[in-house]
């Protein structure tokens, strides 16, 4: 089996997606991910000359839109149901340093 990803790569990916892995798990995950990438190898062997690239996975569907009409969603109680901590109708979370994307 080819090593497409090193253990170091796997640690980086885990960090990106905020998944905590033990050393044993990193080792196992590296094996698994490399196996998955290997299983995709046949794709690289197809004859693709003259085939248009697919620019979107949805295919021929386009311009899907809905009307601007309110449909009631969750009540506050339901919205907060899965939260481990709440306060004054809000999700209560530990302080996070830094900031989000640049909106």
């Amino acid at each position: 089996m080819t090593e497409h990803l090193s253990e170091h790569d796997v640690r980086d990916i885990a960090e990106y997606v905020r998944i905590g892995l033990t050393d044993d798990e990193v080792e196992q995950m590296t094996v698994d991910l490399n196996a998955i990438i290997d299983s995709l190898r046949p794709i690289t062997e197809y004859e693709l000359d003259g085939v248009e690239p697919t620019f979107h996975p949805i295919g021929t569907l386009s311009n899907v839109m809905r009307d601007d009409m309110v449909v009631p969603g969750f009540s506050q109680e339901v919205a907060l149901e899965n939260a481990s901590k709440t306060q004054d109708g809000s999700f209560l979370i530990p302080s996070i340093l830094g900031e989000g994307g640049d909106r």
Binding site: D68, V71, E99, R103
Partner: protein, 527 residues
């Protein structure tokens, strides 16, 4: 660090290169971008959410047609090309205000590309432009053209793309909701998924005034097309600025900083002005500008570092597989174009032409939709006199009405006692010399306070201006007879004494004499 030199001094040696990123929430819509949750500012926390905007597994987004219409409308109003084919992308990042862990936004192709706005910069605002006085009227340099009263600047718009807003966080335990020192945060997802359009300008702006005027003009346009309430205070209109400096004559751009928290027109101007001076000082001392995000603190009057960008953020942008791409039809685009109202710039041109106003007056009348509508209503009521009453009405609106509205925050013209009918009545009293312009100001205030018609106020206060030539002549004769020495001096060349004579006549008449008639009679009798 304190900026020592003034902006104008700094701009002699350095050229500032400024680009803006302006976010507007589409607050006039009923629902969010990708779900049917209600858009409402100030609702109880987490009362407008659903599986889509909370990012629950398996939830499928569906775009709001009215939001797509709004962004196309914004593009048409800012001279953009409307791209028929575009799509949504996922911009991945982990932060608690974005429950999906990605923001849905657009990729390299946005709905609106390659637009522009032309700015009229005049008065004190034009002073920040380097060596403007070296240009003759009509002469061009780079992206500006010199005009009678200042210059016109052509500002390119790179793109306007569609995206969604994040939720709101309140930080606890630190000072005043700030993140520094906070131990916990409260998250409210009512705002998550609010339709947001982001406009990015080309780095075509050269002065803080140009940036402020661009923002003002864009706001007027967005208000005119009705896509947002554009409240900078409540954050439905937000502006970030990118600033870098280069030596006059240099071609290459310097390192830029990104400036945030400029939530008023004044803050936008002052934040940029400060940052330009700060960068100049650092560079002149041989220092280096770091690519960083800085926060404008209006109370301390300085910018502070929020974060240093060591590497480009890795947002792993990829096409959103849950949303179909767009291939907008001509019919769709034309149906949006049909909704395009008269824009402020067009309205100003029409006012200037139809009512013989100066470009300056016309531009100030259209600055606010309600004053423009008020003026228009007045002109309808003026009928055949529209051409003669347009200038005094414009003055009344630009000076007195605007000052009143500025002094009474939150008051809208429609809620006051001042109606177009009363405005016309007031300027007619002025035009036929019933009252003086000084008295007109008093009547204006009285209309606002007492809610009576101008004629009734003039009557009740007995403030009618005396224009009867016979009555005034008697007073003039009396004043001249009482001051023979001054009359001699006047005739001997001290013509400045005319003010003394007018003053004496006015005093005799308790301020109610028509100054025009008094002046005419004095001139006749003293010649």
């Amino acid at each position: 660090m304190s900026a020592v030199r003034s902006l104008e001094e700094v701009l002699v040696d350095w050229e500032a290169v400024i680009g803006l990123e302006i976010h507007a929430e589409l607050t006039t819509l009923e629902t969010k971008m990708f779900c049917n949750c209600k858009l409402e500012f100030g609702a109880d926390p987490n009362t407008h959410t659903c599986p889509v905007c909370l990012g629950l597994p398996g939830a499928l987004p569906v775009p709001n047609r009215a939001a797509i219409e709004s962004i196309v409308l914004a593009g048409l109003a800012t001279n953009c090309d409307i791209e028929k084919r575009s799509m949504f992308y996922r911009k991945n990042y982990m932060y608690p205000d974005m429950p999906k862990n990605f923001q849905t936004t657009q990729g390299p192709v946005a709905f609106c590309m390659r637009g522009h706005l032309d700015l009229d910069v005049d008065g004190p605002a034009a002073k920040e432009r380097y060596q403007l006085d070296k240009l003759a009227v009509g002469e061009e340099r780079e992206n500006i053209i010199r005009t009678d009263s200042g210059y016109k600047a052509h500002v390119g718009i790179t793109r306007i793309h569609m995206e969604e807003d994040a939720g709101k966080m309140v930080h606890l335990g630190g000072g005043e909701g700030r993140i520094a020192g906070a131990t916990h945060s409260l998250v409210d997802y009512n705002r998550a998924g609010t339709p947001l359009i982001e406009l990015v300008t080309e780095p075509d702006l050269r002065t803080p005034e140009e940036a402020r005027l661009f923002m003002q003009k864009l706001r007027q346009i967005y208000l005119a097309i009705g896509i947002s309430d554009c409240s900078m205070e409540e954050g439905s209109l937000r502006c970030d600025g990118n600033v870098s400096l280069r030596r006059r004559g240099a071609k290459e751009f310097g390192t830029k900083t990104e400036l945030k928290n400029m939530n008023s027109f004044k803050n936008l101007h002052d934040g940029l002005a400060y940052e330009i001076c700060r960068q100049a000082e650092v560079l002149e001392e041989g220092g280096q500008i770091y690519q960083e995000t800085r926060h404008w603190d209006p109370t301390q009057k300085r910018t502070i570092v929020m974060r240093v960008k060591e590497t480009a953020d890795d947002y792993r942008l990829f096409p959103e597989p849950d949303l179909a791409p767009y291939d907008l039809s001509d019919e769709f685009i034309e149906s949006v174009r049909a909704k395009l109202p008269e824009l402020p710039e067009q309205k100003a041109l029409r006012f200037a032409q139809d009512f013989a106003l100066s470009a300056y007056d016309a531009r100030h009348l259209v600055e606010h939709r309600e004053t423009a509508a008020f003026f228009e209503k007045c002109m309808q009521l003026a009928g055949a006199d529209a051409a003669t009453l347009s200038k005094p009405i414009a003055n009344l609106i630009i000076n007195d009405v605007t000052a009143y509205l500025n002094a009474n925050e939150g008051v809208v013209l429609a809620d006051t006692q001042f109606t177009p009918a009363r405005a016309i009545e007031l300027v007619r009293l002025l035009a036929d010399d019933t009252i003086s312009s000084k008295q007109a100001k008093e009547v204006f205030s009285a209309v606002m306070e007492e809610g009576l018609d101008p004629a009734a106020i003039v009557e009740a206060r007995g403030m009618k201006q005396v224009s009867d030539t016979g009555a005034i002549e008697a007073v003039v004769d009396g004043v001249l007879a009482a001051n023979p020495d001054k009359v001699e001096q006047y005739k001997g060349g001290k013509t400045g004494l005319i003010g003394f004579f007018v003053g004496q006549c006015m005093k005799e008449m308790k301020g109610q004499g028509n100054p025009k008639v008094i002046n005419e009679l004095l001139a006749k009798k003293l010649s």
